[in-house]
Point group: C2
Amino acid sequence: MTWHLALSVDRESRVPLAVQVRDSLRRLIEEGALRPATRIPSSRQLAADLAVSRSVVVEAYEQLSAEGYLATRRGSGTTVAECAQPAAAVGSALTLVDHEPAEAAWDLRTGTSNVQAFPRQEWIRCVTAALNDAGRQDLGYSPPAGVPVTRQLLAGYLGRVRGVRTRPEDVMVTSGFAQGLALLCRVLRDRGHRTLAVEDPGHPGEWEFIASAGLVPVGIPVDADGLRVDLLEASGARAVLTTPGHHFPTGARLSQARRERLIAWARAVDGYLIEDDYDNAYLRRTGQLPALQSLAPDRVVYAGSASKVLAPALRLGWLATPSELMASVEHVRAGWDIGCSGLEQLAFARFIDSGALDRHQRRLRAEFHKRREVVREQTALHLPGARLLGGEGGLQAYLQLPDGIDEEALVRAARSRSVLVRGGRFYTLTDTTRPPALVVSYATVGCAGLARSLAEIGTAYRELLR
Amino acid sequence: MTWHLALSVDRESRVPLAVQVRDSLRRLIEEGALRPATRIPSSRQLAADLAVSRSVVVEAYEQLSAEGYLATRRGSGTTVAECAQPAAAVGSALTLVDHEPAEAAWDLRTGTSNVQAFPRQEWIRCVTAALNDAGRQDLGYSPPAGVPVTRQLLAGYLGRVRGVRTRPEDVMVTSGFAQGLALLCRVLRDRGHRTLAVEDPGHPGEWEFIASAGLVPVGIPVDADGLRVDLLEASGARAVLTTPGHHFPTGARLSQARRERLIAWARAVDGYLIEDDYDNAYLRRTGQLPALQSLAPDRVVYAGSASKVLAPALRLGWLATPSELMASVEHVRAGWDIGCSGLEQLAFARFIDSGALDRHQRRLRAEFHKRREVVREQTALHLPGARLLGGEGGLQAYLQLPDGIDEEALVRAARSRSVLVRGGRFYTLTDTTRPPALVVSYATVGCAGLARSLAEIGTAYRELLR
């Protein structure tokens, strides 16, 4: 069955093909040319008609489906939605993904993962094996804290890779990092906490999330040695959410001296440290410090997730909590849900145990290091006066700019050149003393795209310097 | 590699083989004969050595793993756990699964699903297809309320199968029924509710869950026409959790007159009805009433899950809420997590859309109807004076007993005959006026097992009558 659709693309344009297809289709629908329930060509067919790659059309269709313009029915194909009105996207603050249309060619904003690299076939193998081997108990209810074998493997894995000192009983599998943070906020509130210290600059979505969980986020400045523990001591908070391995977004690593002082502080105030080890997979393996948790398993909650190493869609995260805290976390959890999907937990256990996780991370680490080198070279080439802060690795580069630069004007100028990027101010809670900066995520843009987009930013930068 | 293990089974014994294997192994470990980290045979090998079916050994190993006695390491096989101490099982009240060792041959307790029937190959096909087709957006973050295509298919499916009148925007995919109930309790509490009316008899795990969510469960008696709406009116509650299609556990169906009165009540008190449609898949299709929700989509929250039709391990549930309530539910959810696994939601969408869900339910429905007939026949044969209450279908039979019978003595006597079953009192909140009863779940025991176990109960019953 072939369905004809009057549509064309402009190959000379700088607007990406997928954006052209999407916008043309949306216009046809909005103008009423394409009526509700109208059958449109399959992505394969339209791609052939337009002589573009199929992924171009798939991307356009996906976005229009998400926006409510198209309905994809397996078996009966893709149609214009019955009620082709864009639904208001109700997102979560924590995802840090803007819901504005991505009109740009390159997206250098943080908050995305390199999901193109998702190891589909290996994951399918793990799901298949887990399900074929699943016994009656595996298919039934598991403890809300997680499937035993998964907790056991996670405990071993975190110990091996990050020096985390924990037991399976103190590991909880959570619905992503988000649920872990929500559980901890609730436990802290139940224990009389009113505030939670956070790093400034840091993750604005997390501050919003913490506030909605009933705690006031209190910003603590960060310098080249990481969190300013001296200012934390003066803050009155008794718990802090921190990224000691690789500060988000500046890349600073918490110094050994500050680690010790931080733990002393936690003991002195009878408080807790929440260690968000979000990007450890992408830090250089040599010279790395073990997790902060290893210094004080009784005071540090270690938190991680599969979102940055596999895909956010899995919604798999984990906590390794002080034993004394675990019962409280489990108690709150038991009032919210009965745990995450057991089948995915079993698949993830196989993914760890077969070595697939290590292999996948090694591959991505090599790729991200290449990308970071491109950012370094291109910054030196196109942004004279800019400094790349922080250590090696990670998923984003923090480019500190000369004092005179108008950061917001630069962000706007980059956007007009089809590059989406955020300025340092976006990540600021209250500390406005930092020099202007750009935060460049290279999670989703490859080396060539990075070179081109940084050249575009460089052109905008030089125009602003004039 | 073969590993020898000194173990034997007694084929003459009434103790099931899996229980024998499990208990012998546990004893060897507890006595120190099997030391931590000792490698034991694969389930395949031990099954061959003992000349039993492999599932016998798999079941024993699984339970010992869950109890912390064994560690199963893919690649290096099964070993005695390093620290072979039974971990305290932290369960959820809502699962209604006892964590006592199932020493019995037959388990007729409610709260389990027929996971043996889980359509593994069809589910694997759906997961594989979903993952192979997943675009960048599918692998990233979805709205916390659920993947758009899944919500759309659920809205269509619930309308087709149960007459539910809803829109995709008002459907939320939840982590099982449990999370849906937790979210609703929280929203009700935020709106000033202090109590939630529940059916009595009903589901004790739910009462506990509701209490932990901060609402007081208030029991409303049930008769042959379902919930006593007149008593609900007098209760002071402004919301009720109800099973109108097939009351749990008595099987009563809410009459048409009471449905109308119930909705009038909800409007009068500006309240809400939560319709738990837990077993509609297994009710006879002829003469069924549509969901209560269809009479008042502005007052009824419809709730369902995949736990009874596929497997609890999936943790997939759904709510169809009044539009006016949806924003509040989404607001609470956004502070708890960022939704369920997108990959499983996409797989479930395919499972619905391909017709696999309908086919699977039809198969199970036929099987459960056969089992119910066996219960009916065997009850007439072995339990003179007992009455099977309720309509056709479902997952459990409510056997009302003559007044003179000591229900608890019967439950104990059944257990001594290797049958686990619960009495009506187990499901009672405050209404102690009901005659004695047994609640027989046939979700996990086949026709032959039902015949044998009911004969055992009958022997115990006749001894008590003497």
